[in-house]
């Protein structure tokens, strides 16, 4: 088990969200979009070194800005 951020994940890699370091407002938004502790996600892609990250959560594709993507940690096998 290794903990890395969404940014550090590779394309097509799966991981389970284990930590989200964000304020209440952002936590709530994450939560309502289905990004929460224990959720399995798949990384689709990221744009450039400081660009956004696309992930697949359930049946939705979500895009997170660089800064937010750094706040979400996942455990990978």
């Amino acid at each position: 088990m290794k903990k890395i951020s969404l940014r550090q994940m590779k394309e097509k890699q799966k991981g389970v969200i284990c930590d989200i370091s964000a304020g209440m407002r952002l936590q709530n938004k994450f939560m309502s979009m289905g990004i929460y502790h224990g959720r399995e996600i798949t990384k689709i892609s990221s744009i450039g070194l400081r660009g956004p990250v696309a992930i697949k959560v359930g049946r939705s594709v979500l895009v997170l800005g660089h800064g937010v993507a750094n706040k979400v940690m996942v455990e990978i096998q």
Binding site: M31, P52, S60
Partner: protein, 575 residues
């Protein structure tokens, strides 16, 4: 007694389409989150009573994160719960995520009906849902609908009366998701399908290299198609109608009025070489309708047709992701590209669409950049007409100058504007094949909006200018401003009339330049200045309404500074 019906749901689940079906009111719908930023209202006949239906902007939860979400939630709390029914529109292809809001609505004790929308698409995606079971679990009516074709809407109407609040404990966020997991287990079954071409394209357009290639290709083709349709509408329809049918009529009218009369000056304008010239006569019946219907309207049609296609396919959010990096330097995030693109049609909807941006700082930056650096399609059409005669190089030059202005100004604003810019967090919809009927409705609505808004202002503007010119009242103005305009921008004092006209309508303002014998350089500089100097009255008004007087004054001062600097630099550089 039901007094109001609210439509609520996640972004991009087709609320507006359901709304149109229920009320017959046509509204604009697209394939991206946040098409509706205004509250739409309409009426629905239920039995023998008319009930108001309110279409709320999309929201993921009852704990709002943006201005338009806030509006949605606060409206819900305004009315007593026994007087309203809430129709929760749910995307059948993505039940899991949508149920989060549904559970919150139930917990809030609102009388609910659930509409499982896009049921045809769910079938396509290999998702099947057991509607009866879901109804039993939730305890409220659940109806499977497909708003685009209209199936299920009748049943939805019949069951509105059954809406009732359900007793449900308030859950923590985590519990809610656990609950949803359990519900999905019971009601949803997926058929595994192989990757389709659509999915391959979806993936390719959010990857760095292939995504950029696709984006450049799509934008290039879009631009070409807009020009192709616009040019052909002009040369094959608009011009022949004006020259072959309208002109002979006007010629008779002109000789009836007599060349020297005041009315002739007002209605027909000046005769050029003894004939009416639609581009130069500047009369209420000649140049005014010609500009609107033969020069601008064709491009309005072609632009909104192509924009509508891009919107409905679902390309824009992907473009937003690719642009995120660049826009960060301007204090915005990727999603701001959507208001900007809308601004290329008309600045007004562009500024309205900034409501989807979370912070006030972002809204200010985006609205200022749109009003200064983004020329509306009416202005672009006129620039095509005016500078295109010389060479495409000049047309391209205008865009290039505006792009530079836009980037430089954005970077400066990012470093000076107070407040914070939140980050990008947005859902990307699947690619969809656009349906023709909604696409057509949207185009029709936008063209109608243009005609209603533009026609009176164009007539008023031309009338005003003609009266002022006739009584030589402009001489006072031009006397004051001539040194600035001549010294800094190298423009003759007659161009001032056009710049003033820019306050009414940009297209007519460019039209006023046509009779003046300006050099290419002067036309180029005036075009750029007209693009930068924002608001035509409508933009001015909407900026004030959306961001308040203080920001409007700030933006106006910025605009003045940018105009002065850009105009003088161009004049100096092009010597």
């Amino acid at each position: 007694m039901i007094k109001k019906i609210f439509l609520i749901g996640n972004p991009n689940v087709g609320k507006s389409v359901v709304f149109s079906r229920l009320t017959g009111v046509r509204v604009i719908s697209s394939n991206y989150a946040g098409t509706t930023v205004e509250i739409m209202r309409g009426f629905l006949k239920l039995g023998d009573r008319e009930i108001e239906v309110v279409d709320l902007p999309g929201t993921y939860s009852l704990e709002p994160a943006s201005k338009s979400e806030e509006v949605a939630v606060s409206l819900l709390n305004e009315y007593p719960k026994d007087e309203i029914v809430v129709i929760n529109i749910v995307d059948s292809t993505n039940l899991e995520r949508n149920l989060y809001l549904t559970l919150q609505l139930l917990e809030a004790g609102l009388p609910l009906v659930v509409s499982l929308n896009m049921c045809d698409e769910a079938k396509h995606h290999g998702v099947s849902l057991e509607v009866d079971k879901l109804e039993k679990i939730l305890g409220v009516p659940v109806i499977s609908t497909c708003a685009i074709t209209g199936s299920g809407i009748k049943l939805l109407l019949e069951r509105i009366h059954e809406a009732k609040p359900v007793l449900r404990d308030k859950f923590s966020h985590r519990q809610r998701w656990q609950d949803i997991g359990a519900i999905i287990e019971q009601v949803q079954s997926l058929t595994h399908r192989h990757h389709t071409l659509r999915e391959i394209l979806e993936d390719a357009s959010v990857r760095p290299f292939s995504g950029a290639l696709i984006a450049i290709g799509v934008l290039f083709v879009s631009f070409q198609v807009v020009r192709f349709i616009g040019e052909n509408l002009i040369s094959r329809i608009a011009d022949p109608v004006f020259l072959n049918f309208y002109q002979p009529l006007l010629a008779k009218f002109s000789s009836f009025l007599g060349n020297e009369s005041f009315m002739h000056h007002l209605l027909i304008g000046d005769l050029i070489n003894g004939r009416i010239d639609f581009k130069q006569s500047l009369g209420l019946l000649t140049t005014a309708p010609y500009i609107e219907f033969a020069m601008v309207l064709p491009y309005i049609i072609s632009f909104y047709f192509v924009l509508g296609l891009l919107e409905d396919i679902g390309f824009l959010p992907r473009l937003a992701m690719l642009m995120d990096n660049l826009l960060h330097h301007l204090g915005l995030h990727g999603f701001a590209i959507i208001p900007v693109l809308l601004g290329f049609g008309c600045n007004v909807p562009g500024i309205l669409a900034t409501r989807n941006l979370e912070s006030r700082r972002e809204r200010f930056i985006a609205a200022t950049l749109i009003s200064i650096g983004v020329p509306c399609v009416a202005l672009q059409a006129m620039i095509f007409g005016l500078l295109g005669r010389f060479s495409g190089f000049y047309v391209f030059g205008v865009y290039l100058v505006l792009l530079v202005v836009w980037l430089v100004l954005g970077i400066i604003l990012n470093h000076t504007a107070k407040g914070y810019s939140p980050e990008f967090l947005v859902e990307i919809p699947p690619y969809r094949l656009p349906s023709l009927a909604p696409l057509w409705h949207k185009l029709f609505l936008r063209i109608k909006g243009f005609l209603i808004e533009a026609a009176p202002l164009v007539l008023l503007g031309v009338l005003l200018v003609n009266v002022l010119l006739y009584f030589k009242l402009f001489d006072f103005f031009t006397g004051i401003f001539a040194p600035v305009v001549k010294g800094l921008f190298g423009l003759p004092k007659e161009a001032i009339v056009s710049l003033v006209m820019g306050l009414f309508r940009k297209d007519v303002a460019v039209g006023m330049l046509m009779p003046l014998a300006l050099t290419v350089k002067q036309l180029f500089i005036t075009s750029v200045l007209l693009a930068i100097s924002f608001p035509c009255l409508a933009t001015f008004f909407v900026f004030f309404k959306e961001l308040g007087l203080k920001d409007l004054i700030k933006a106006s001062l910025i605009m003045l500074a940018v105009g002065l600097v850009t105009g003088s630099l161009l004049n100096f550089a092009m010597r």
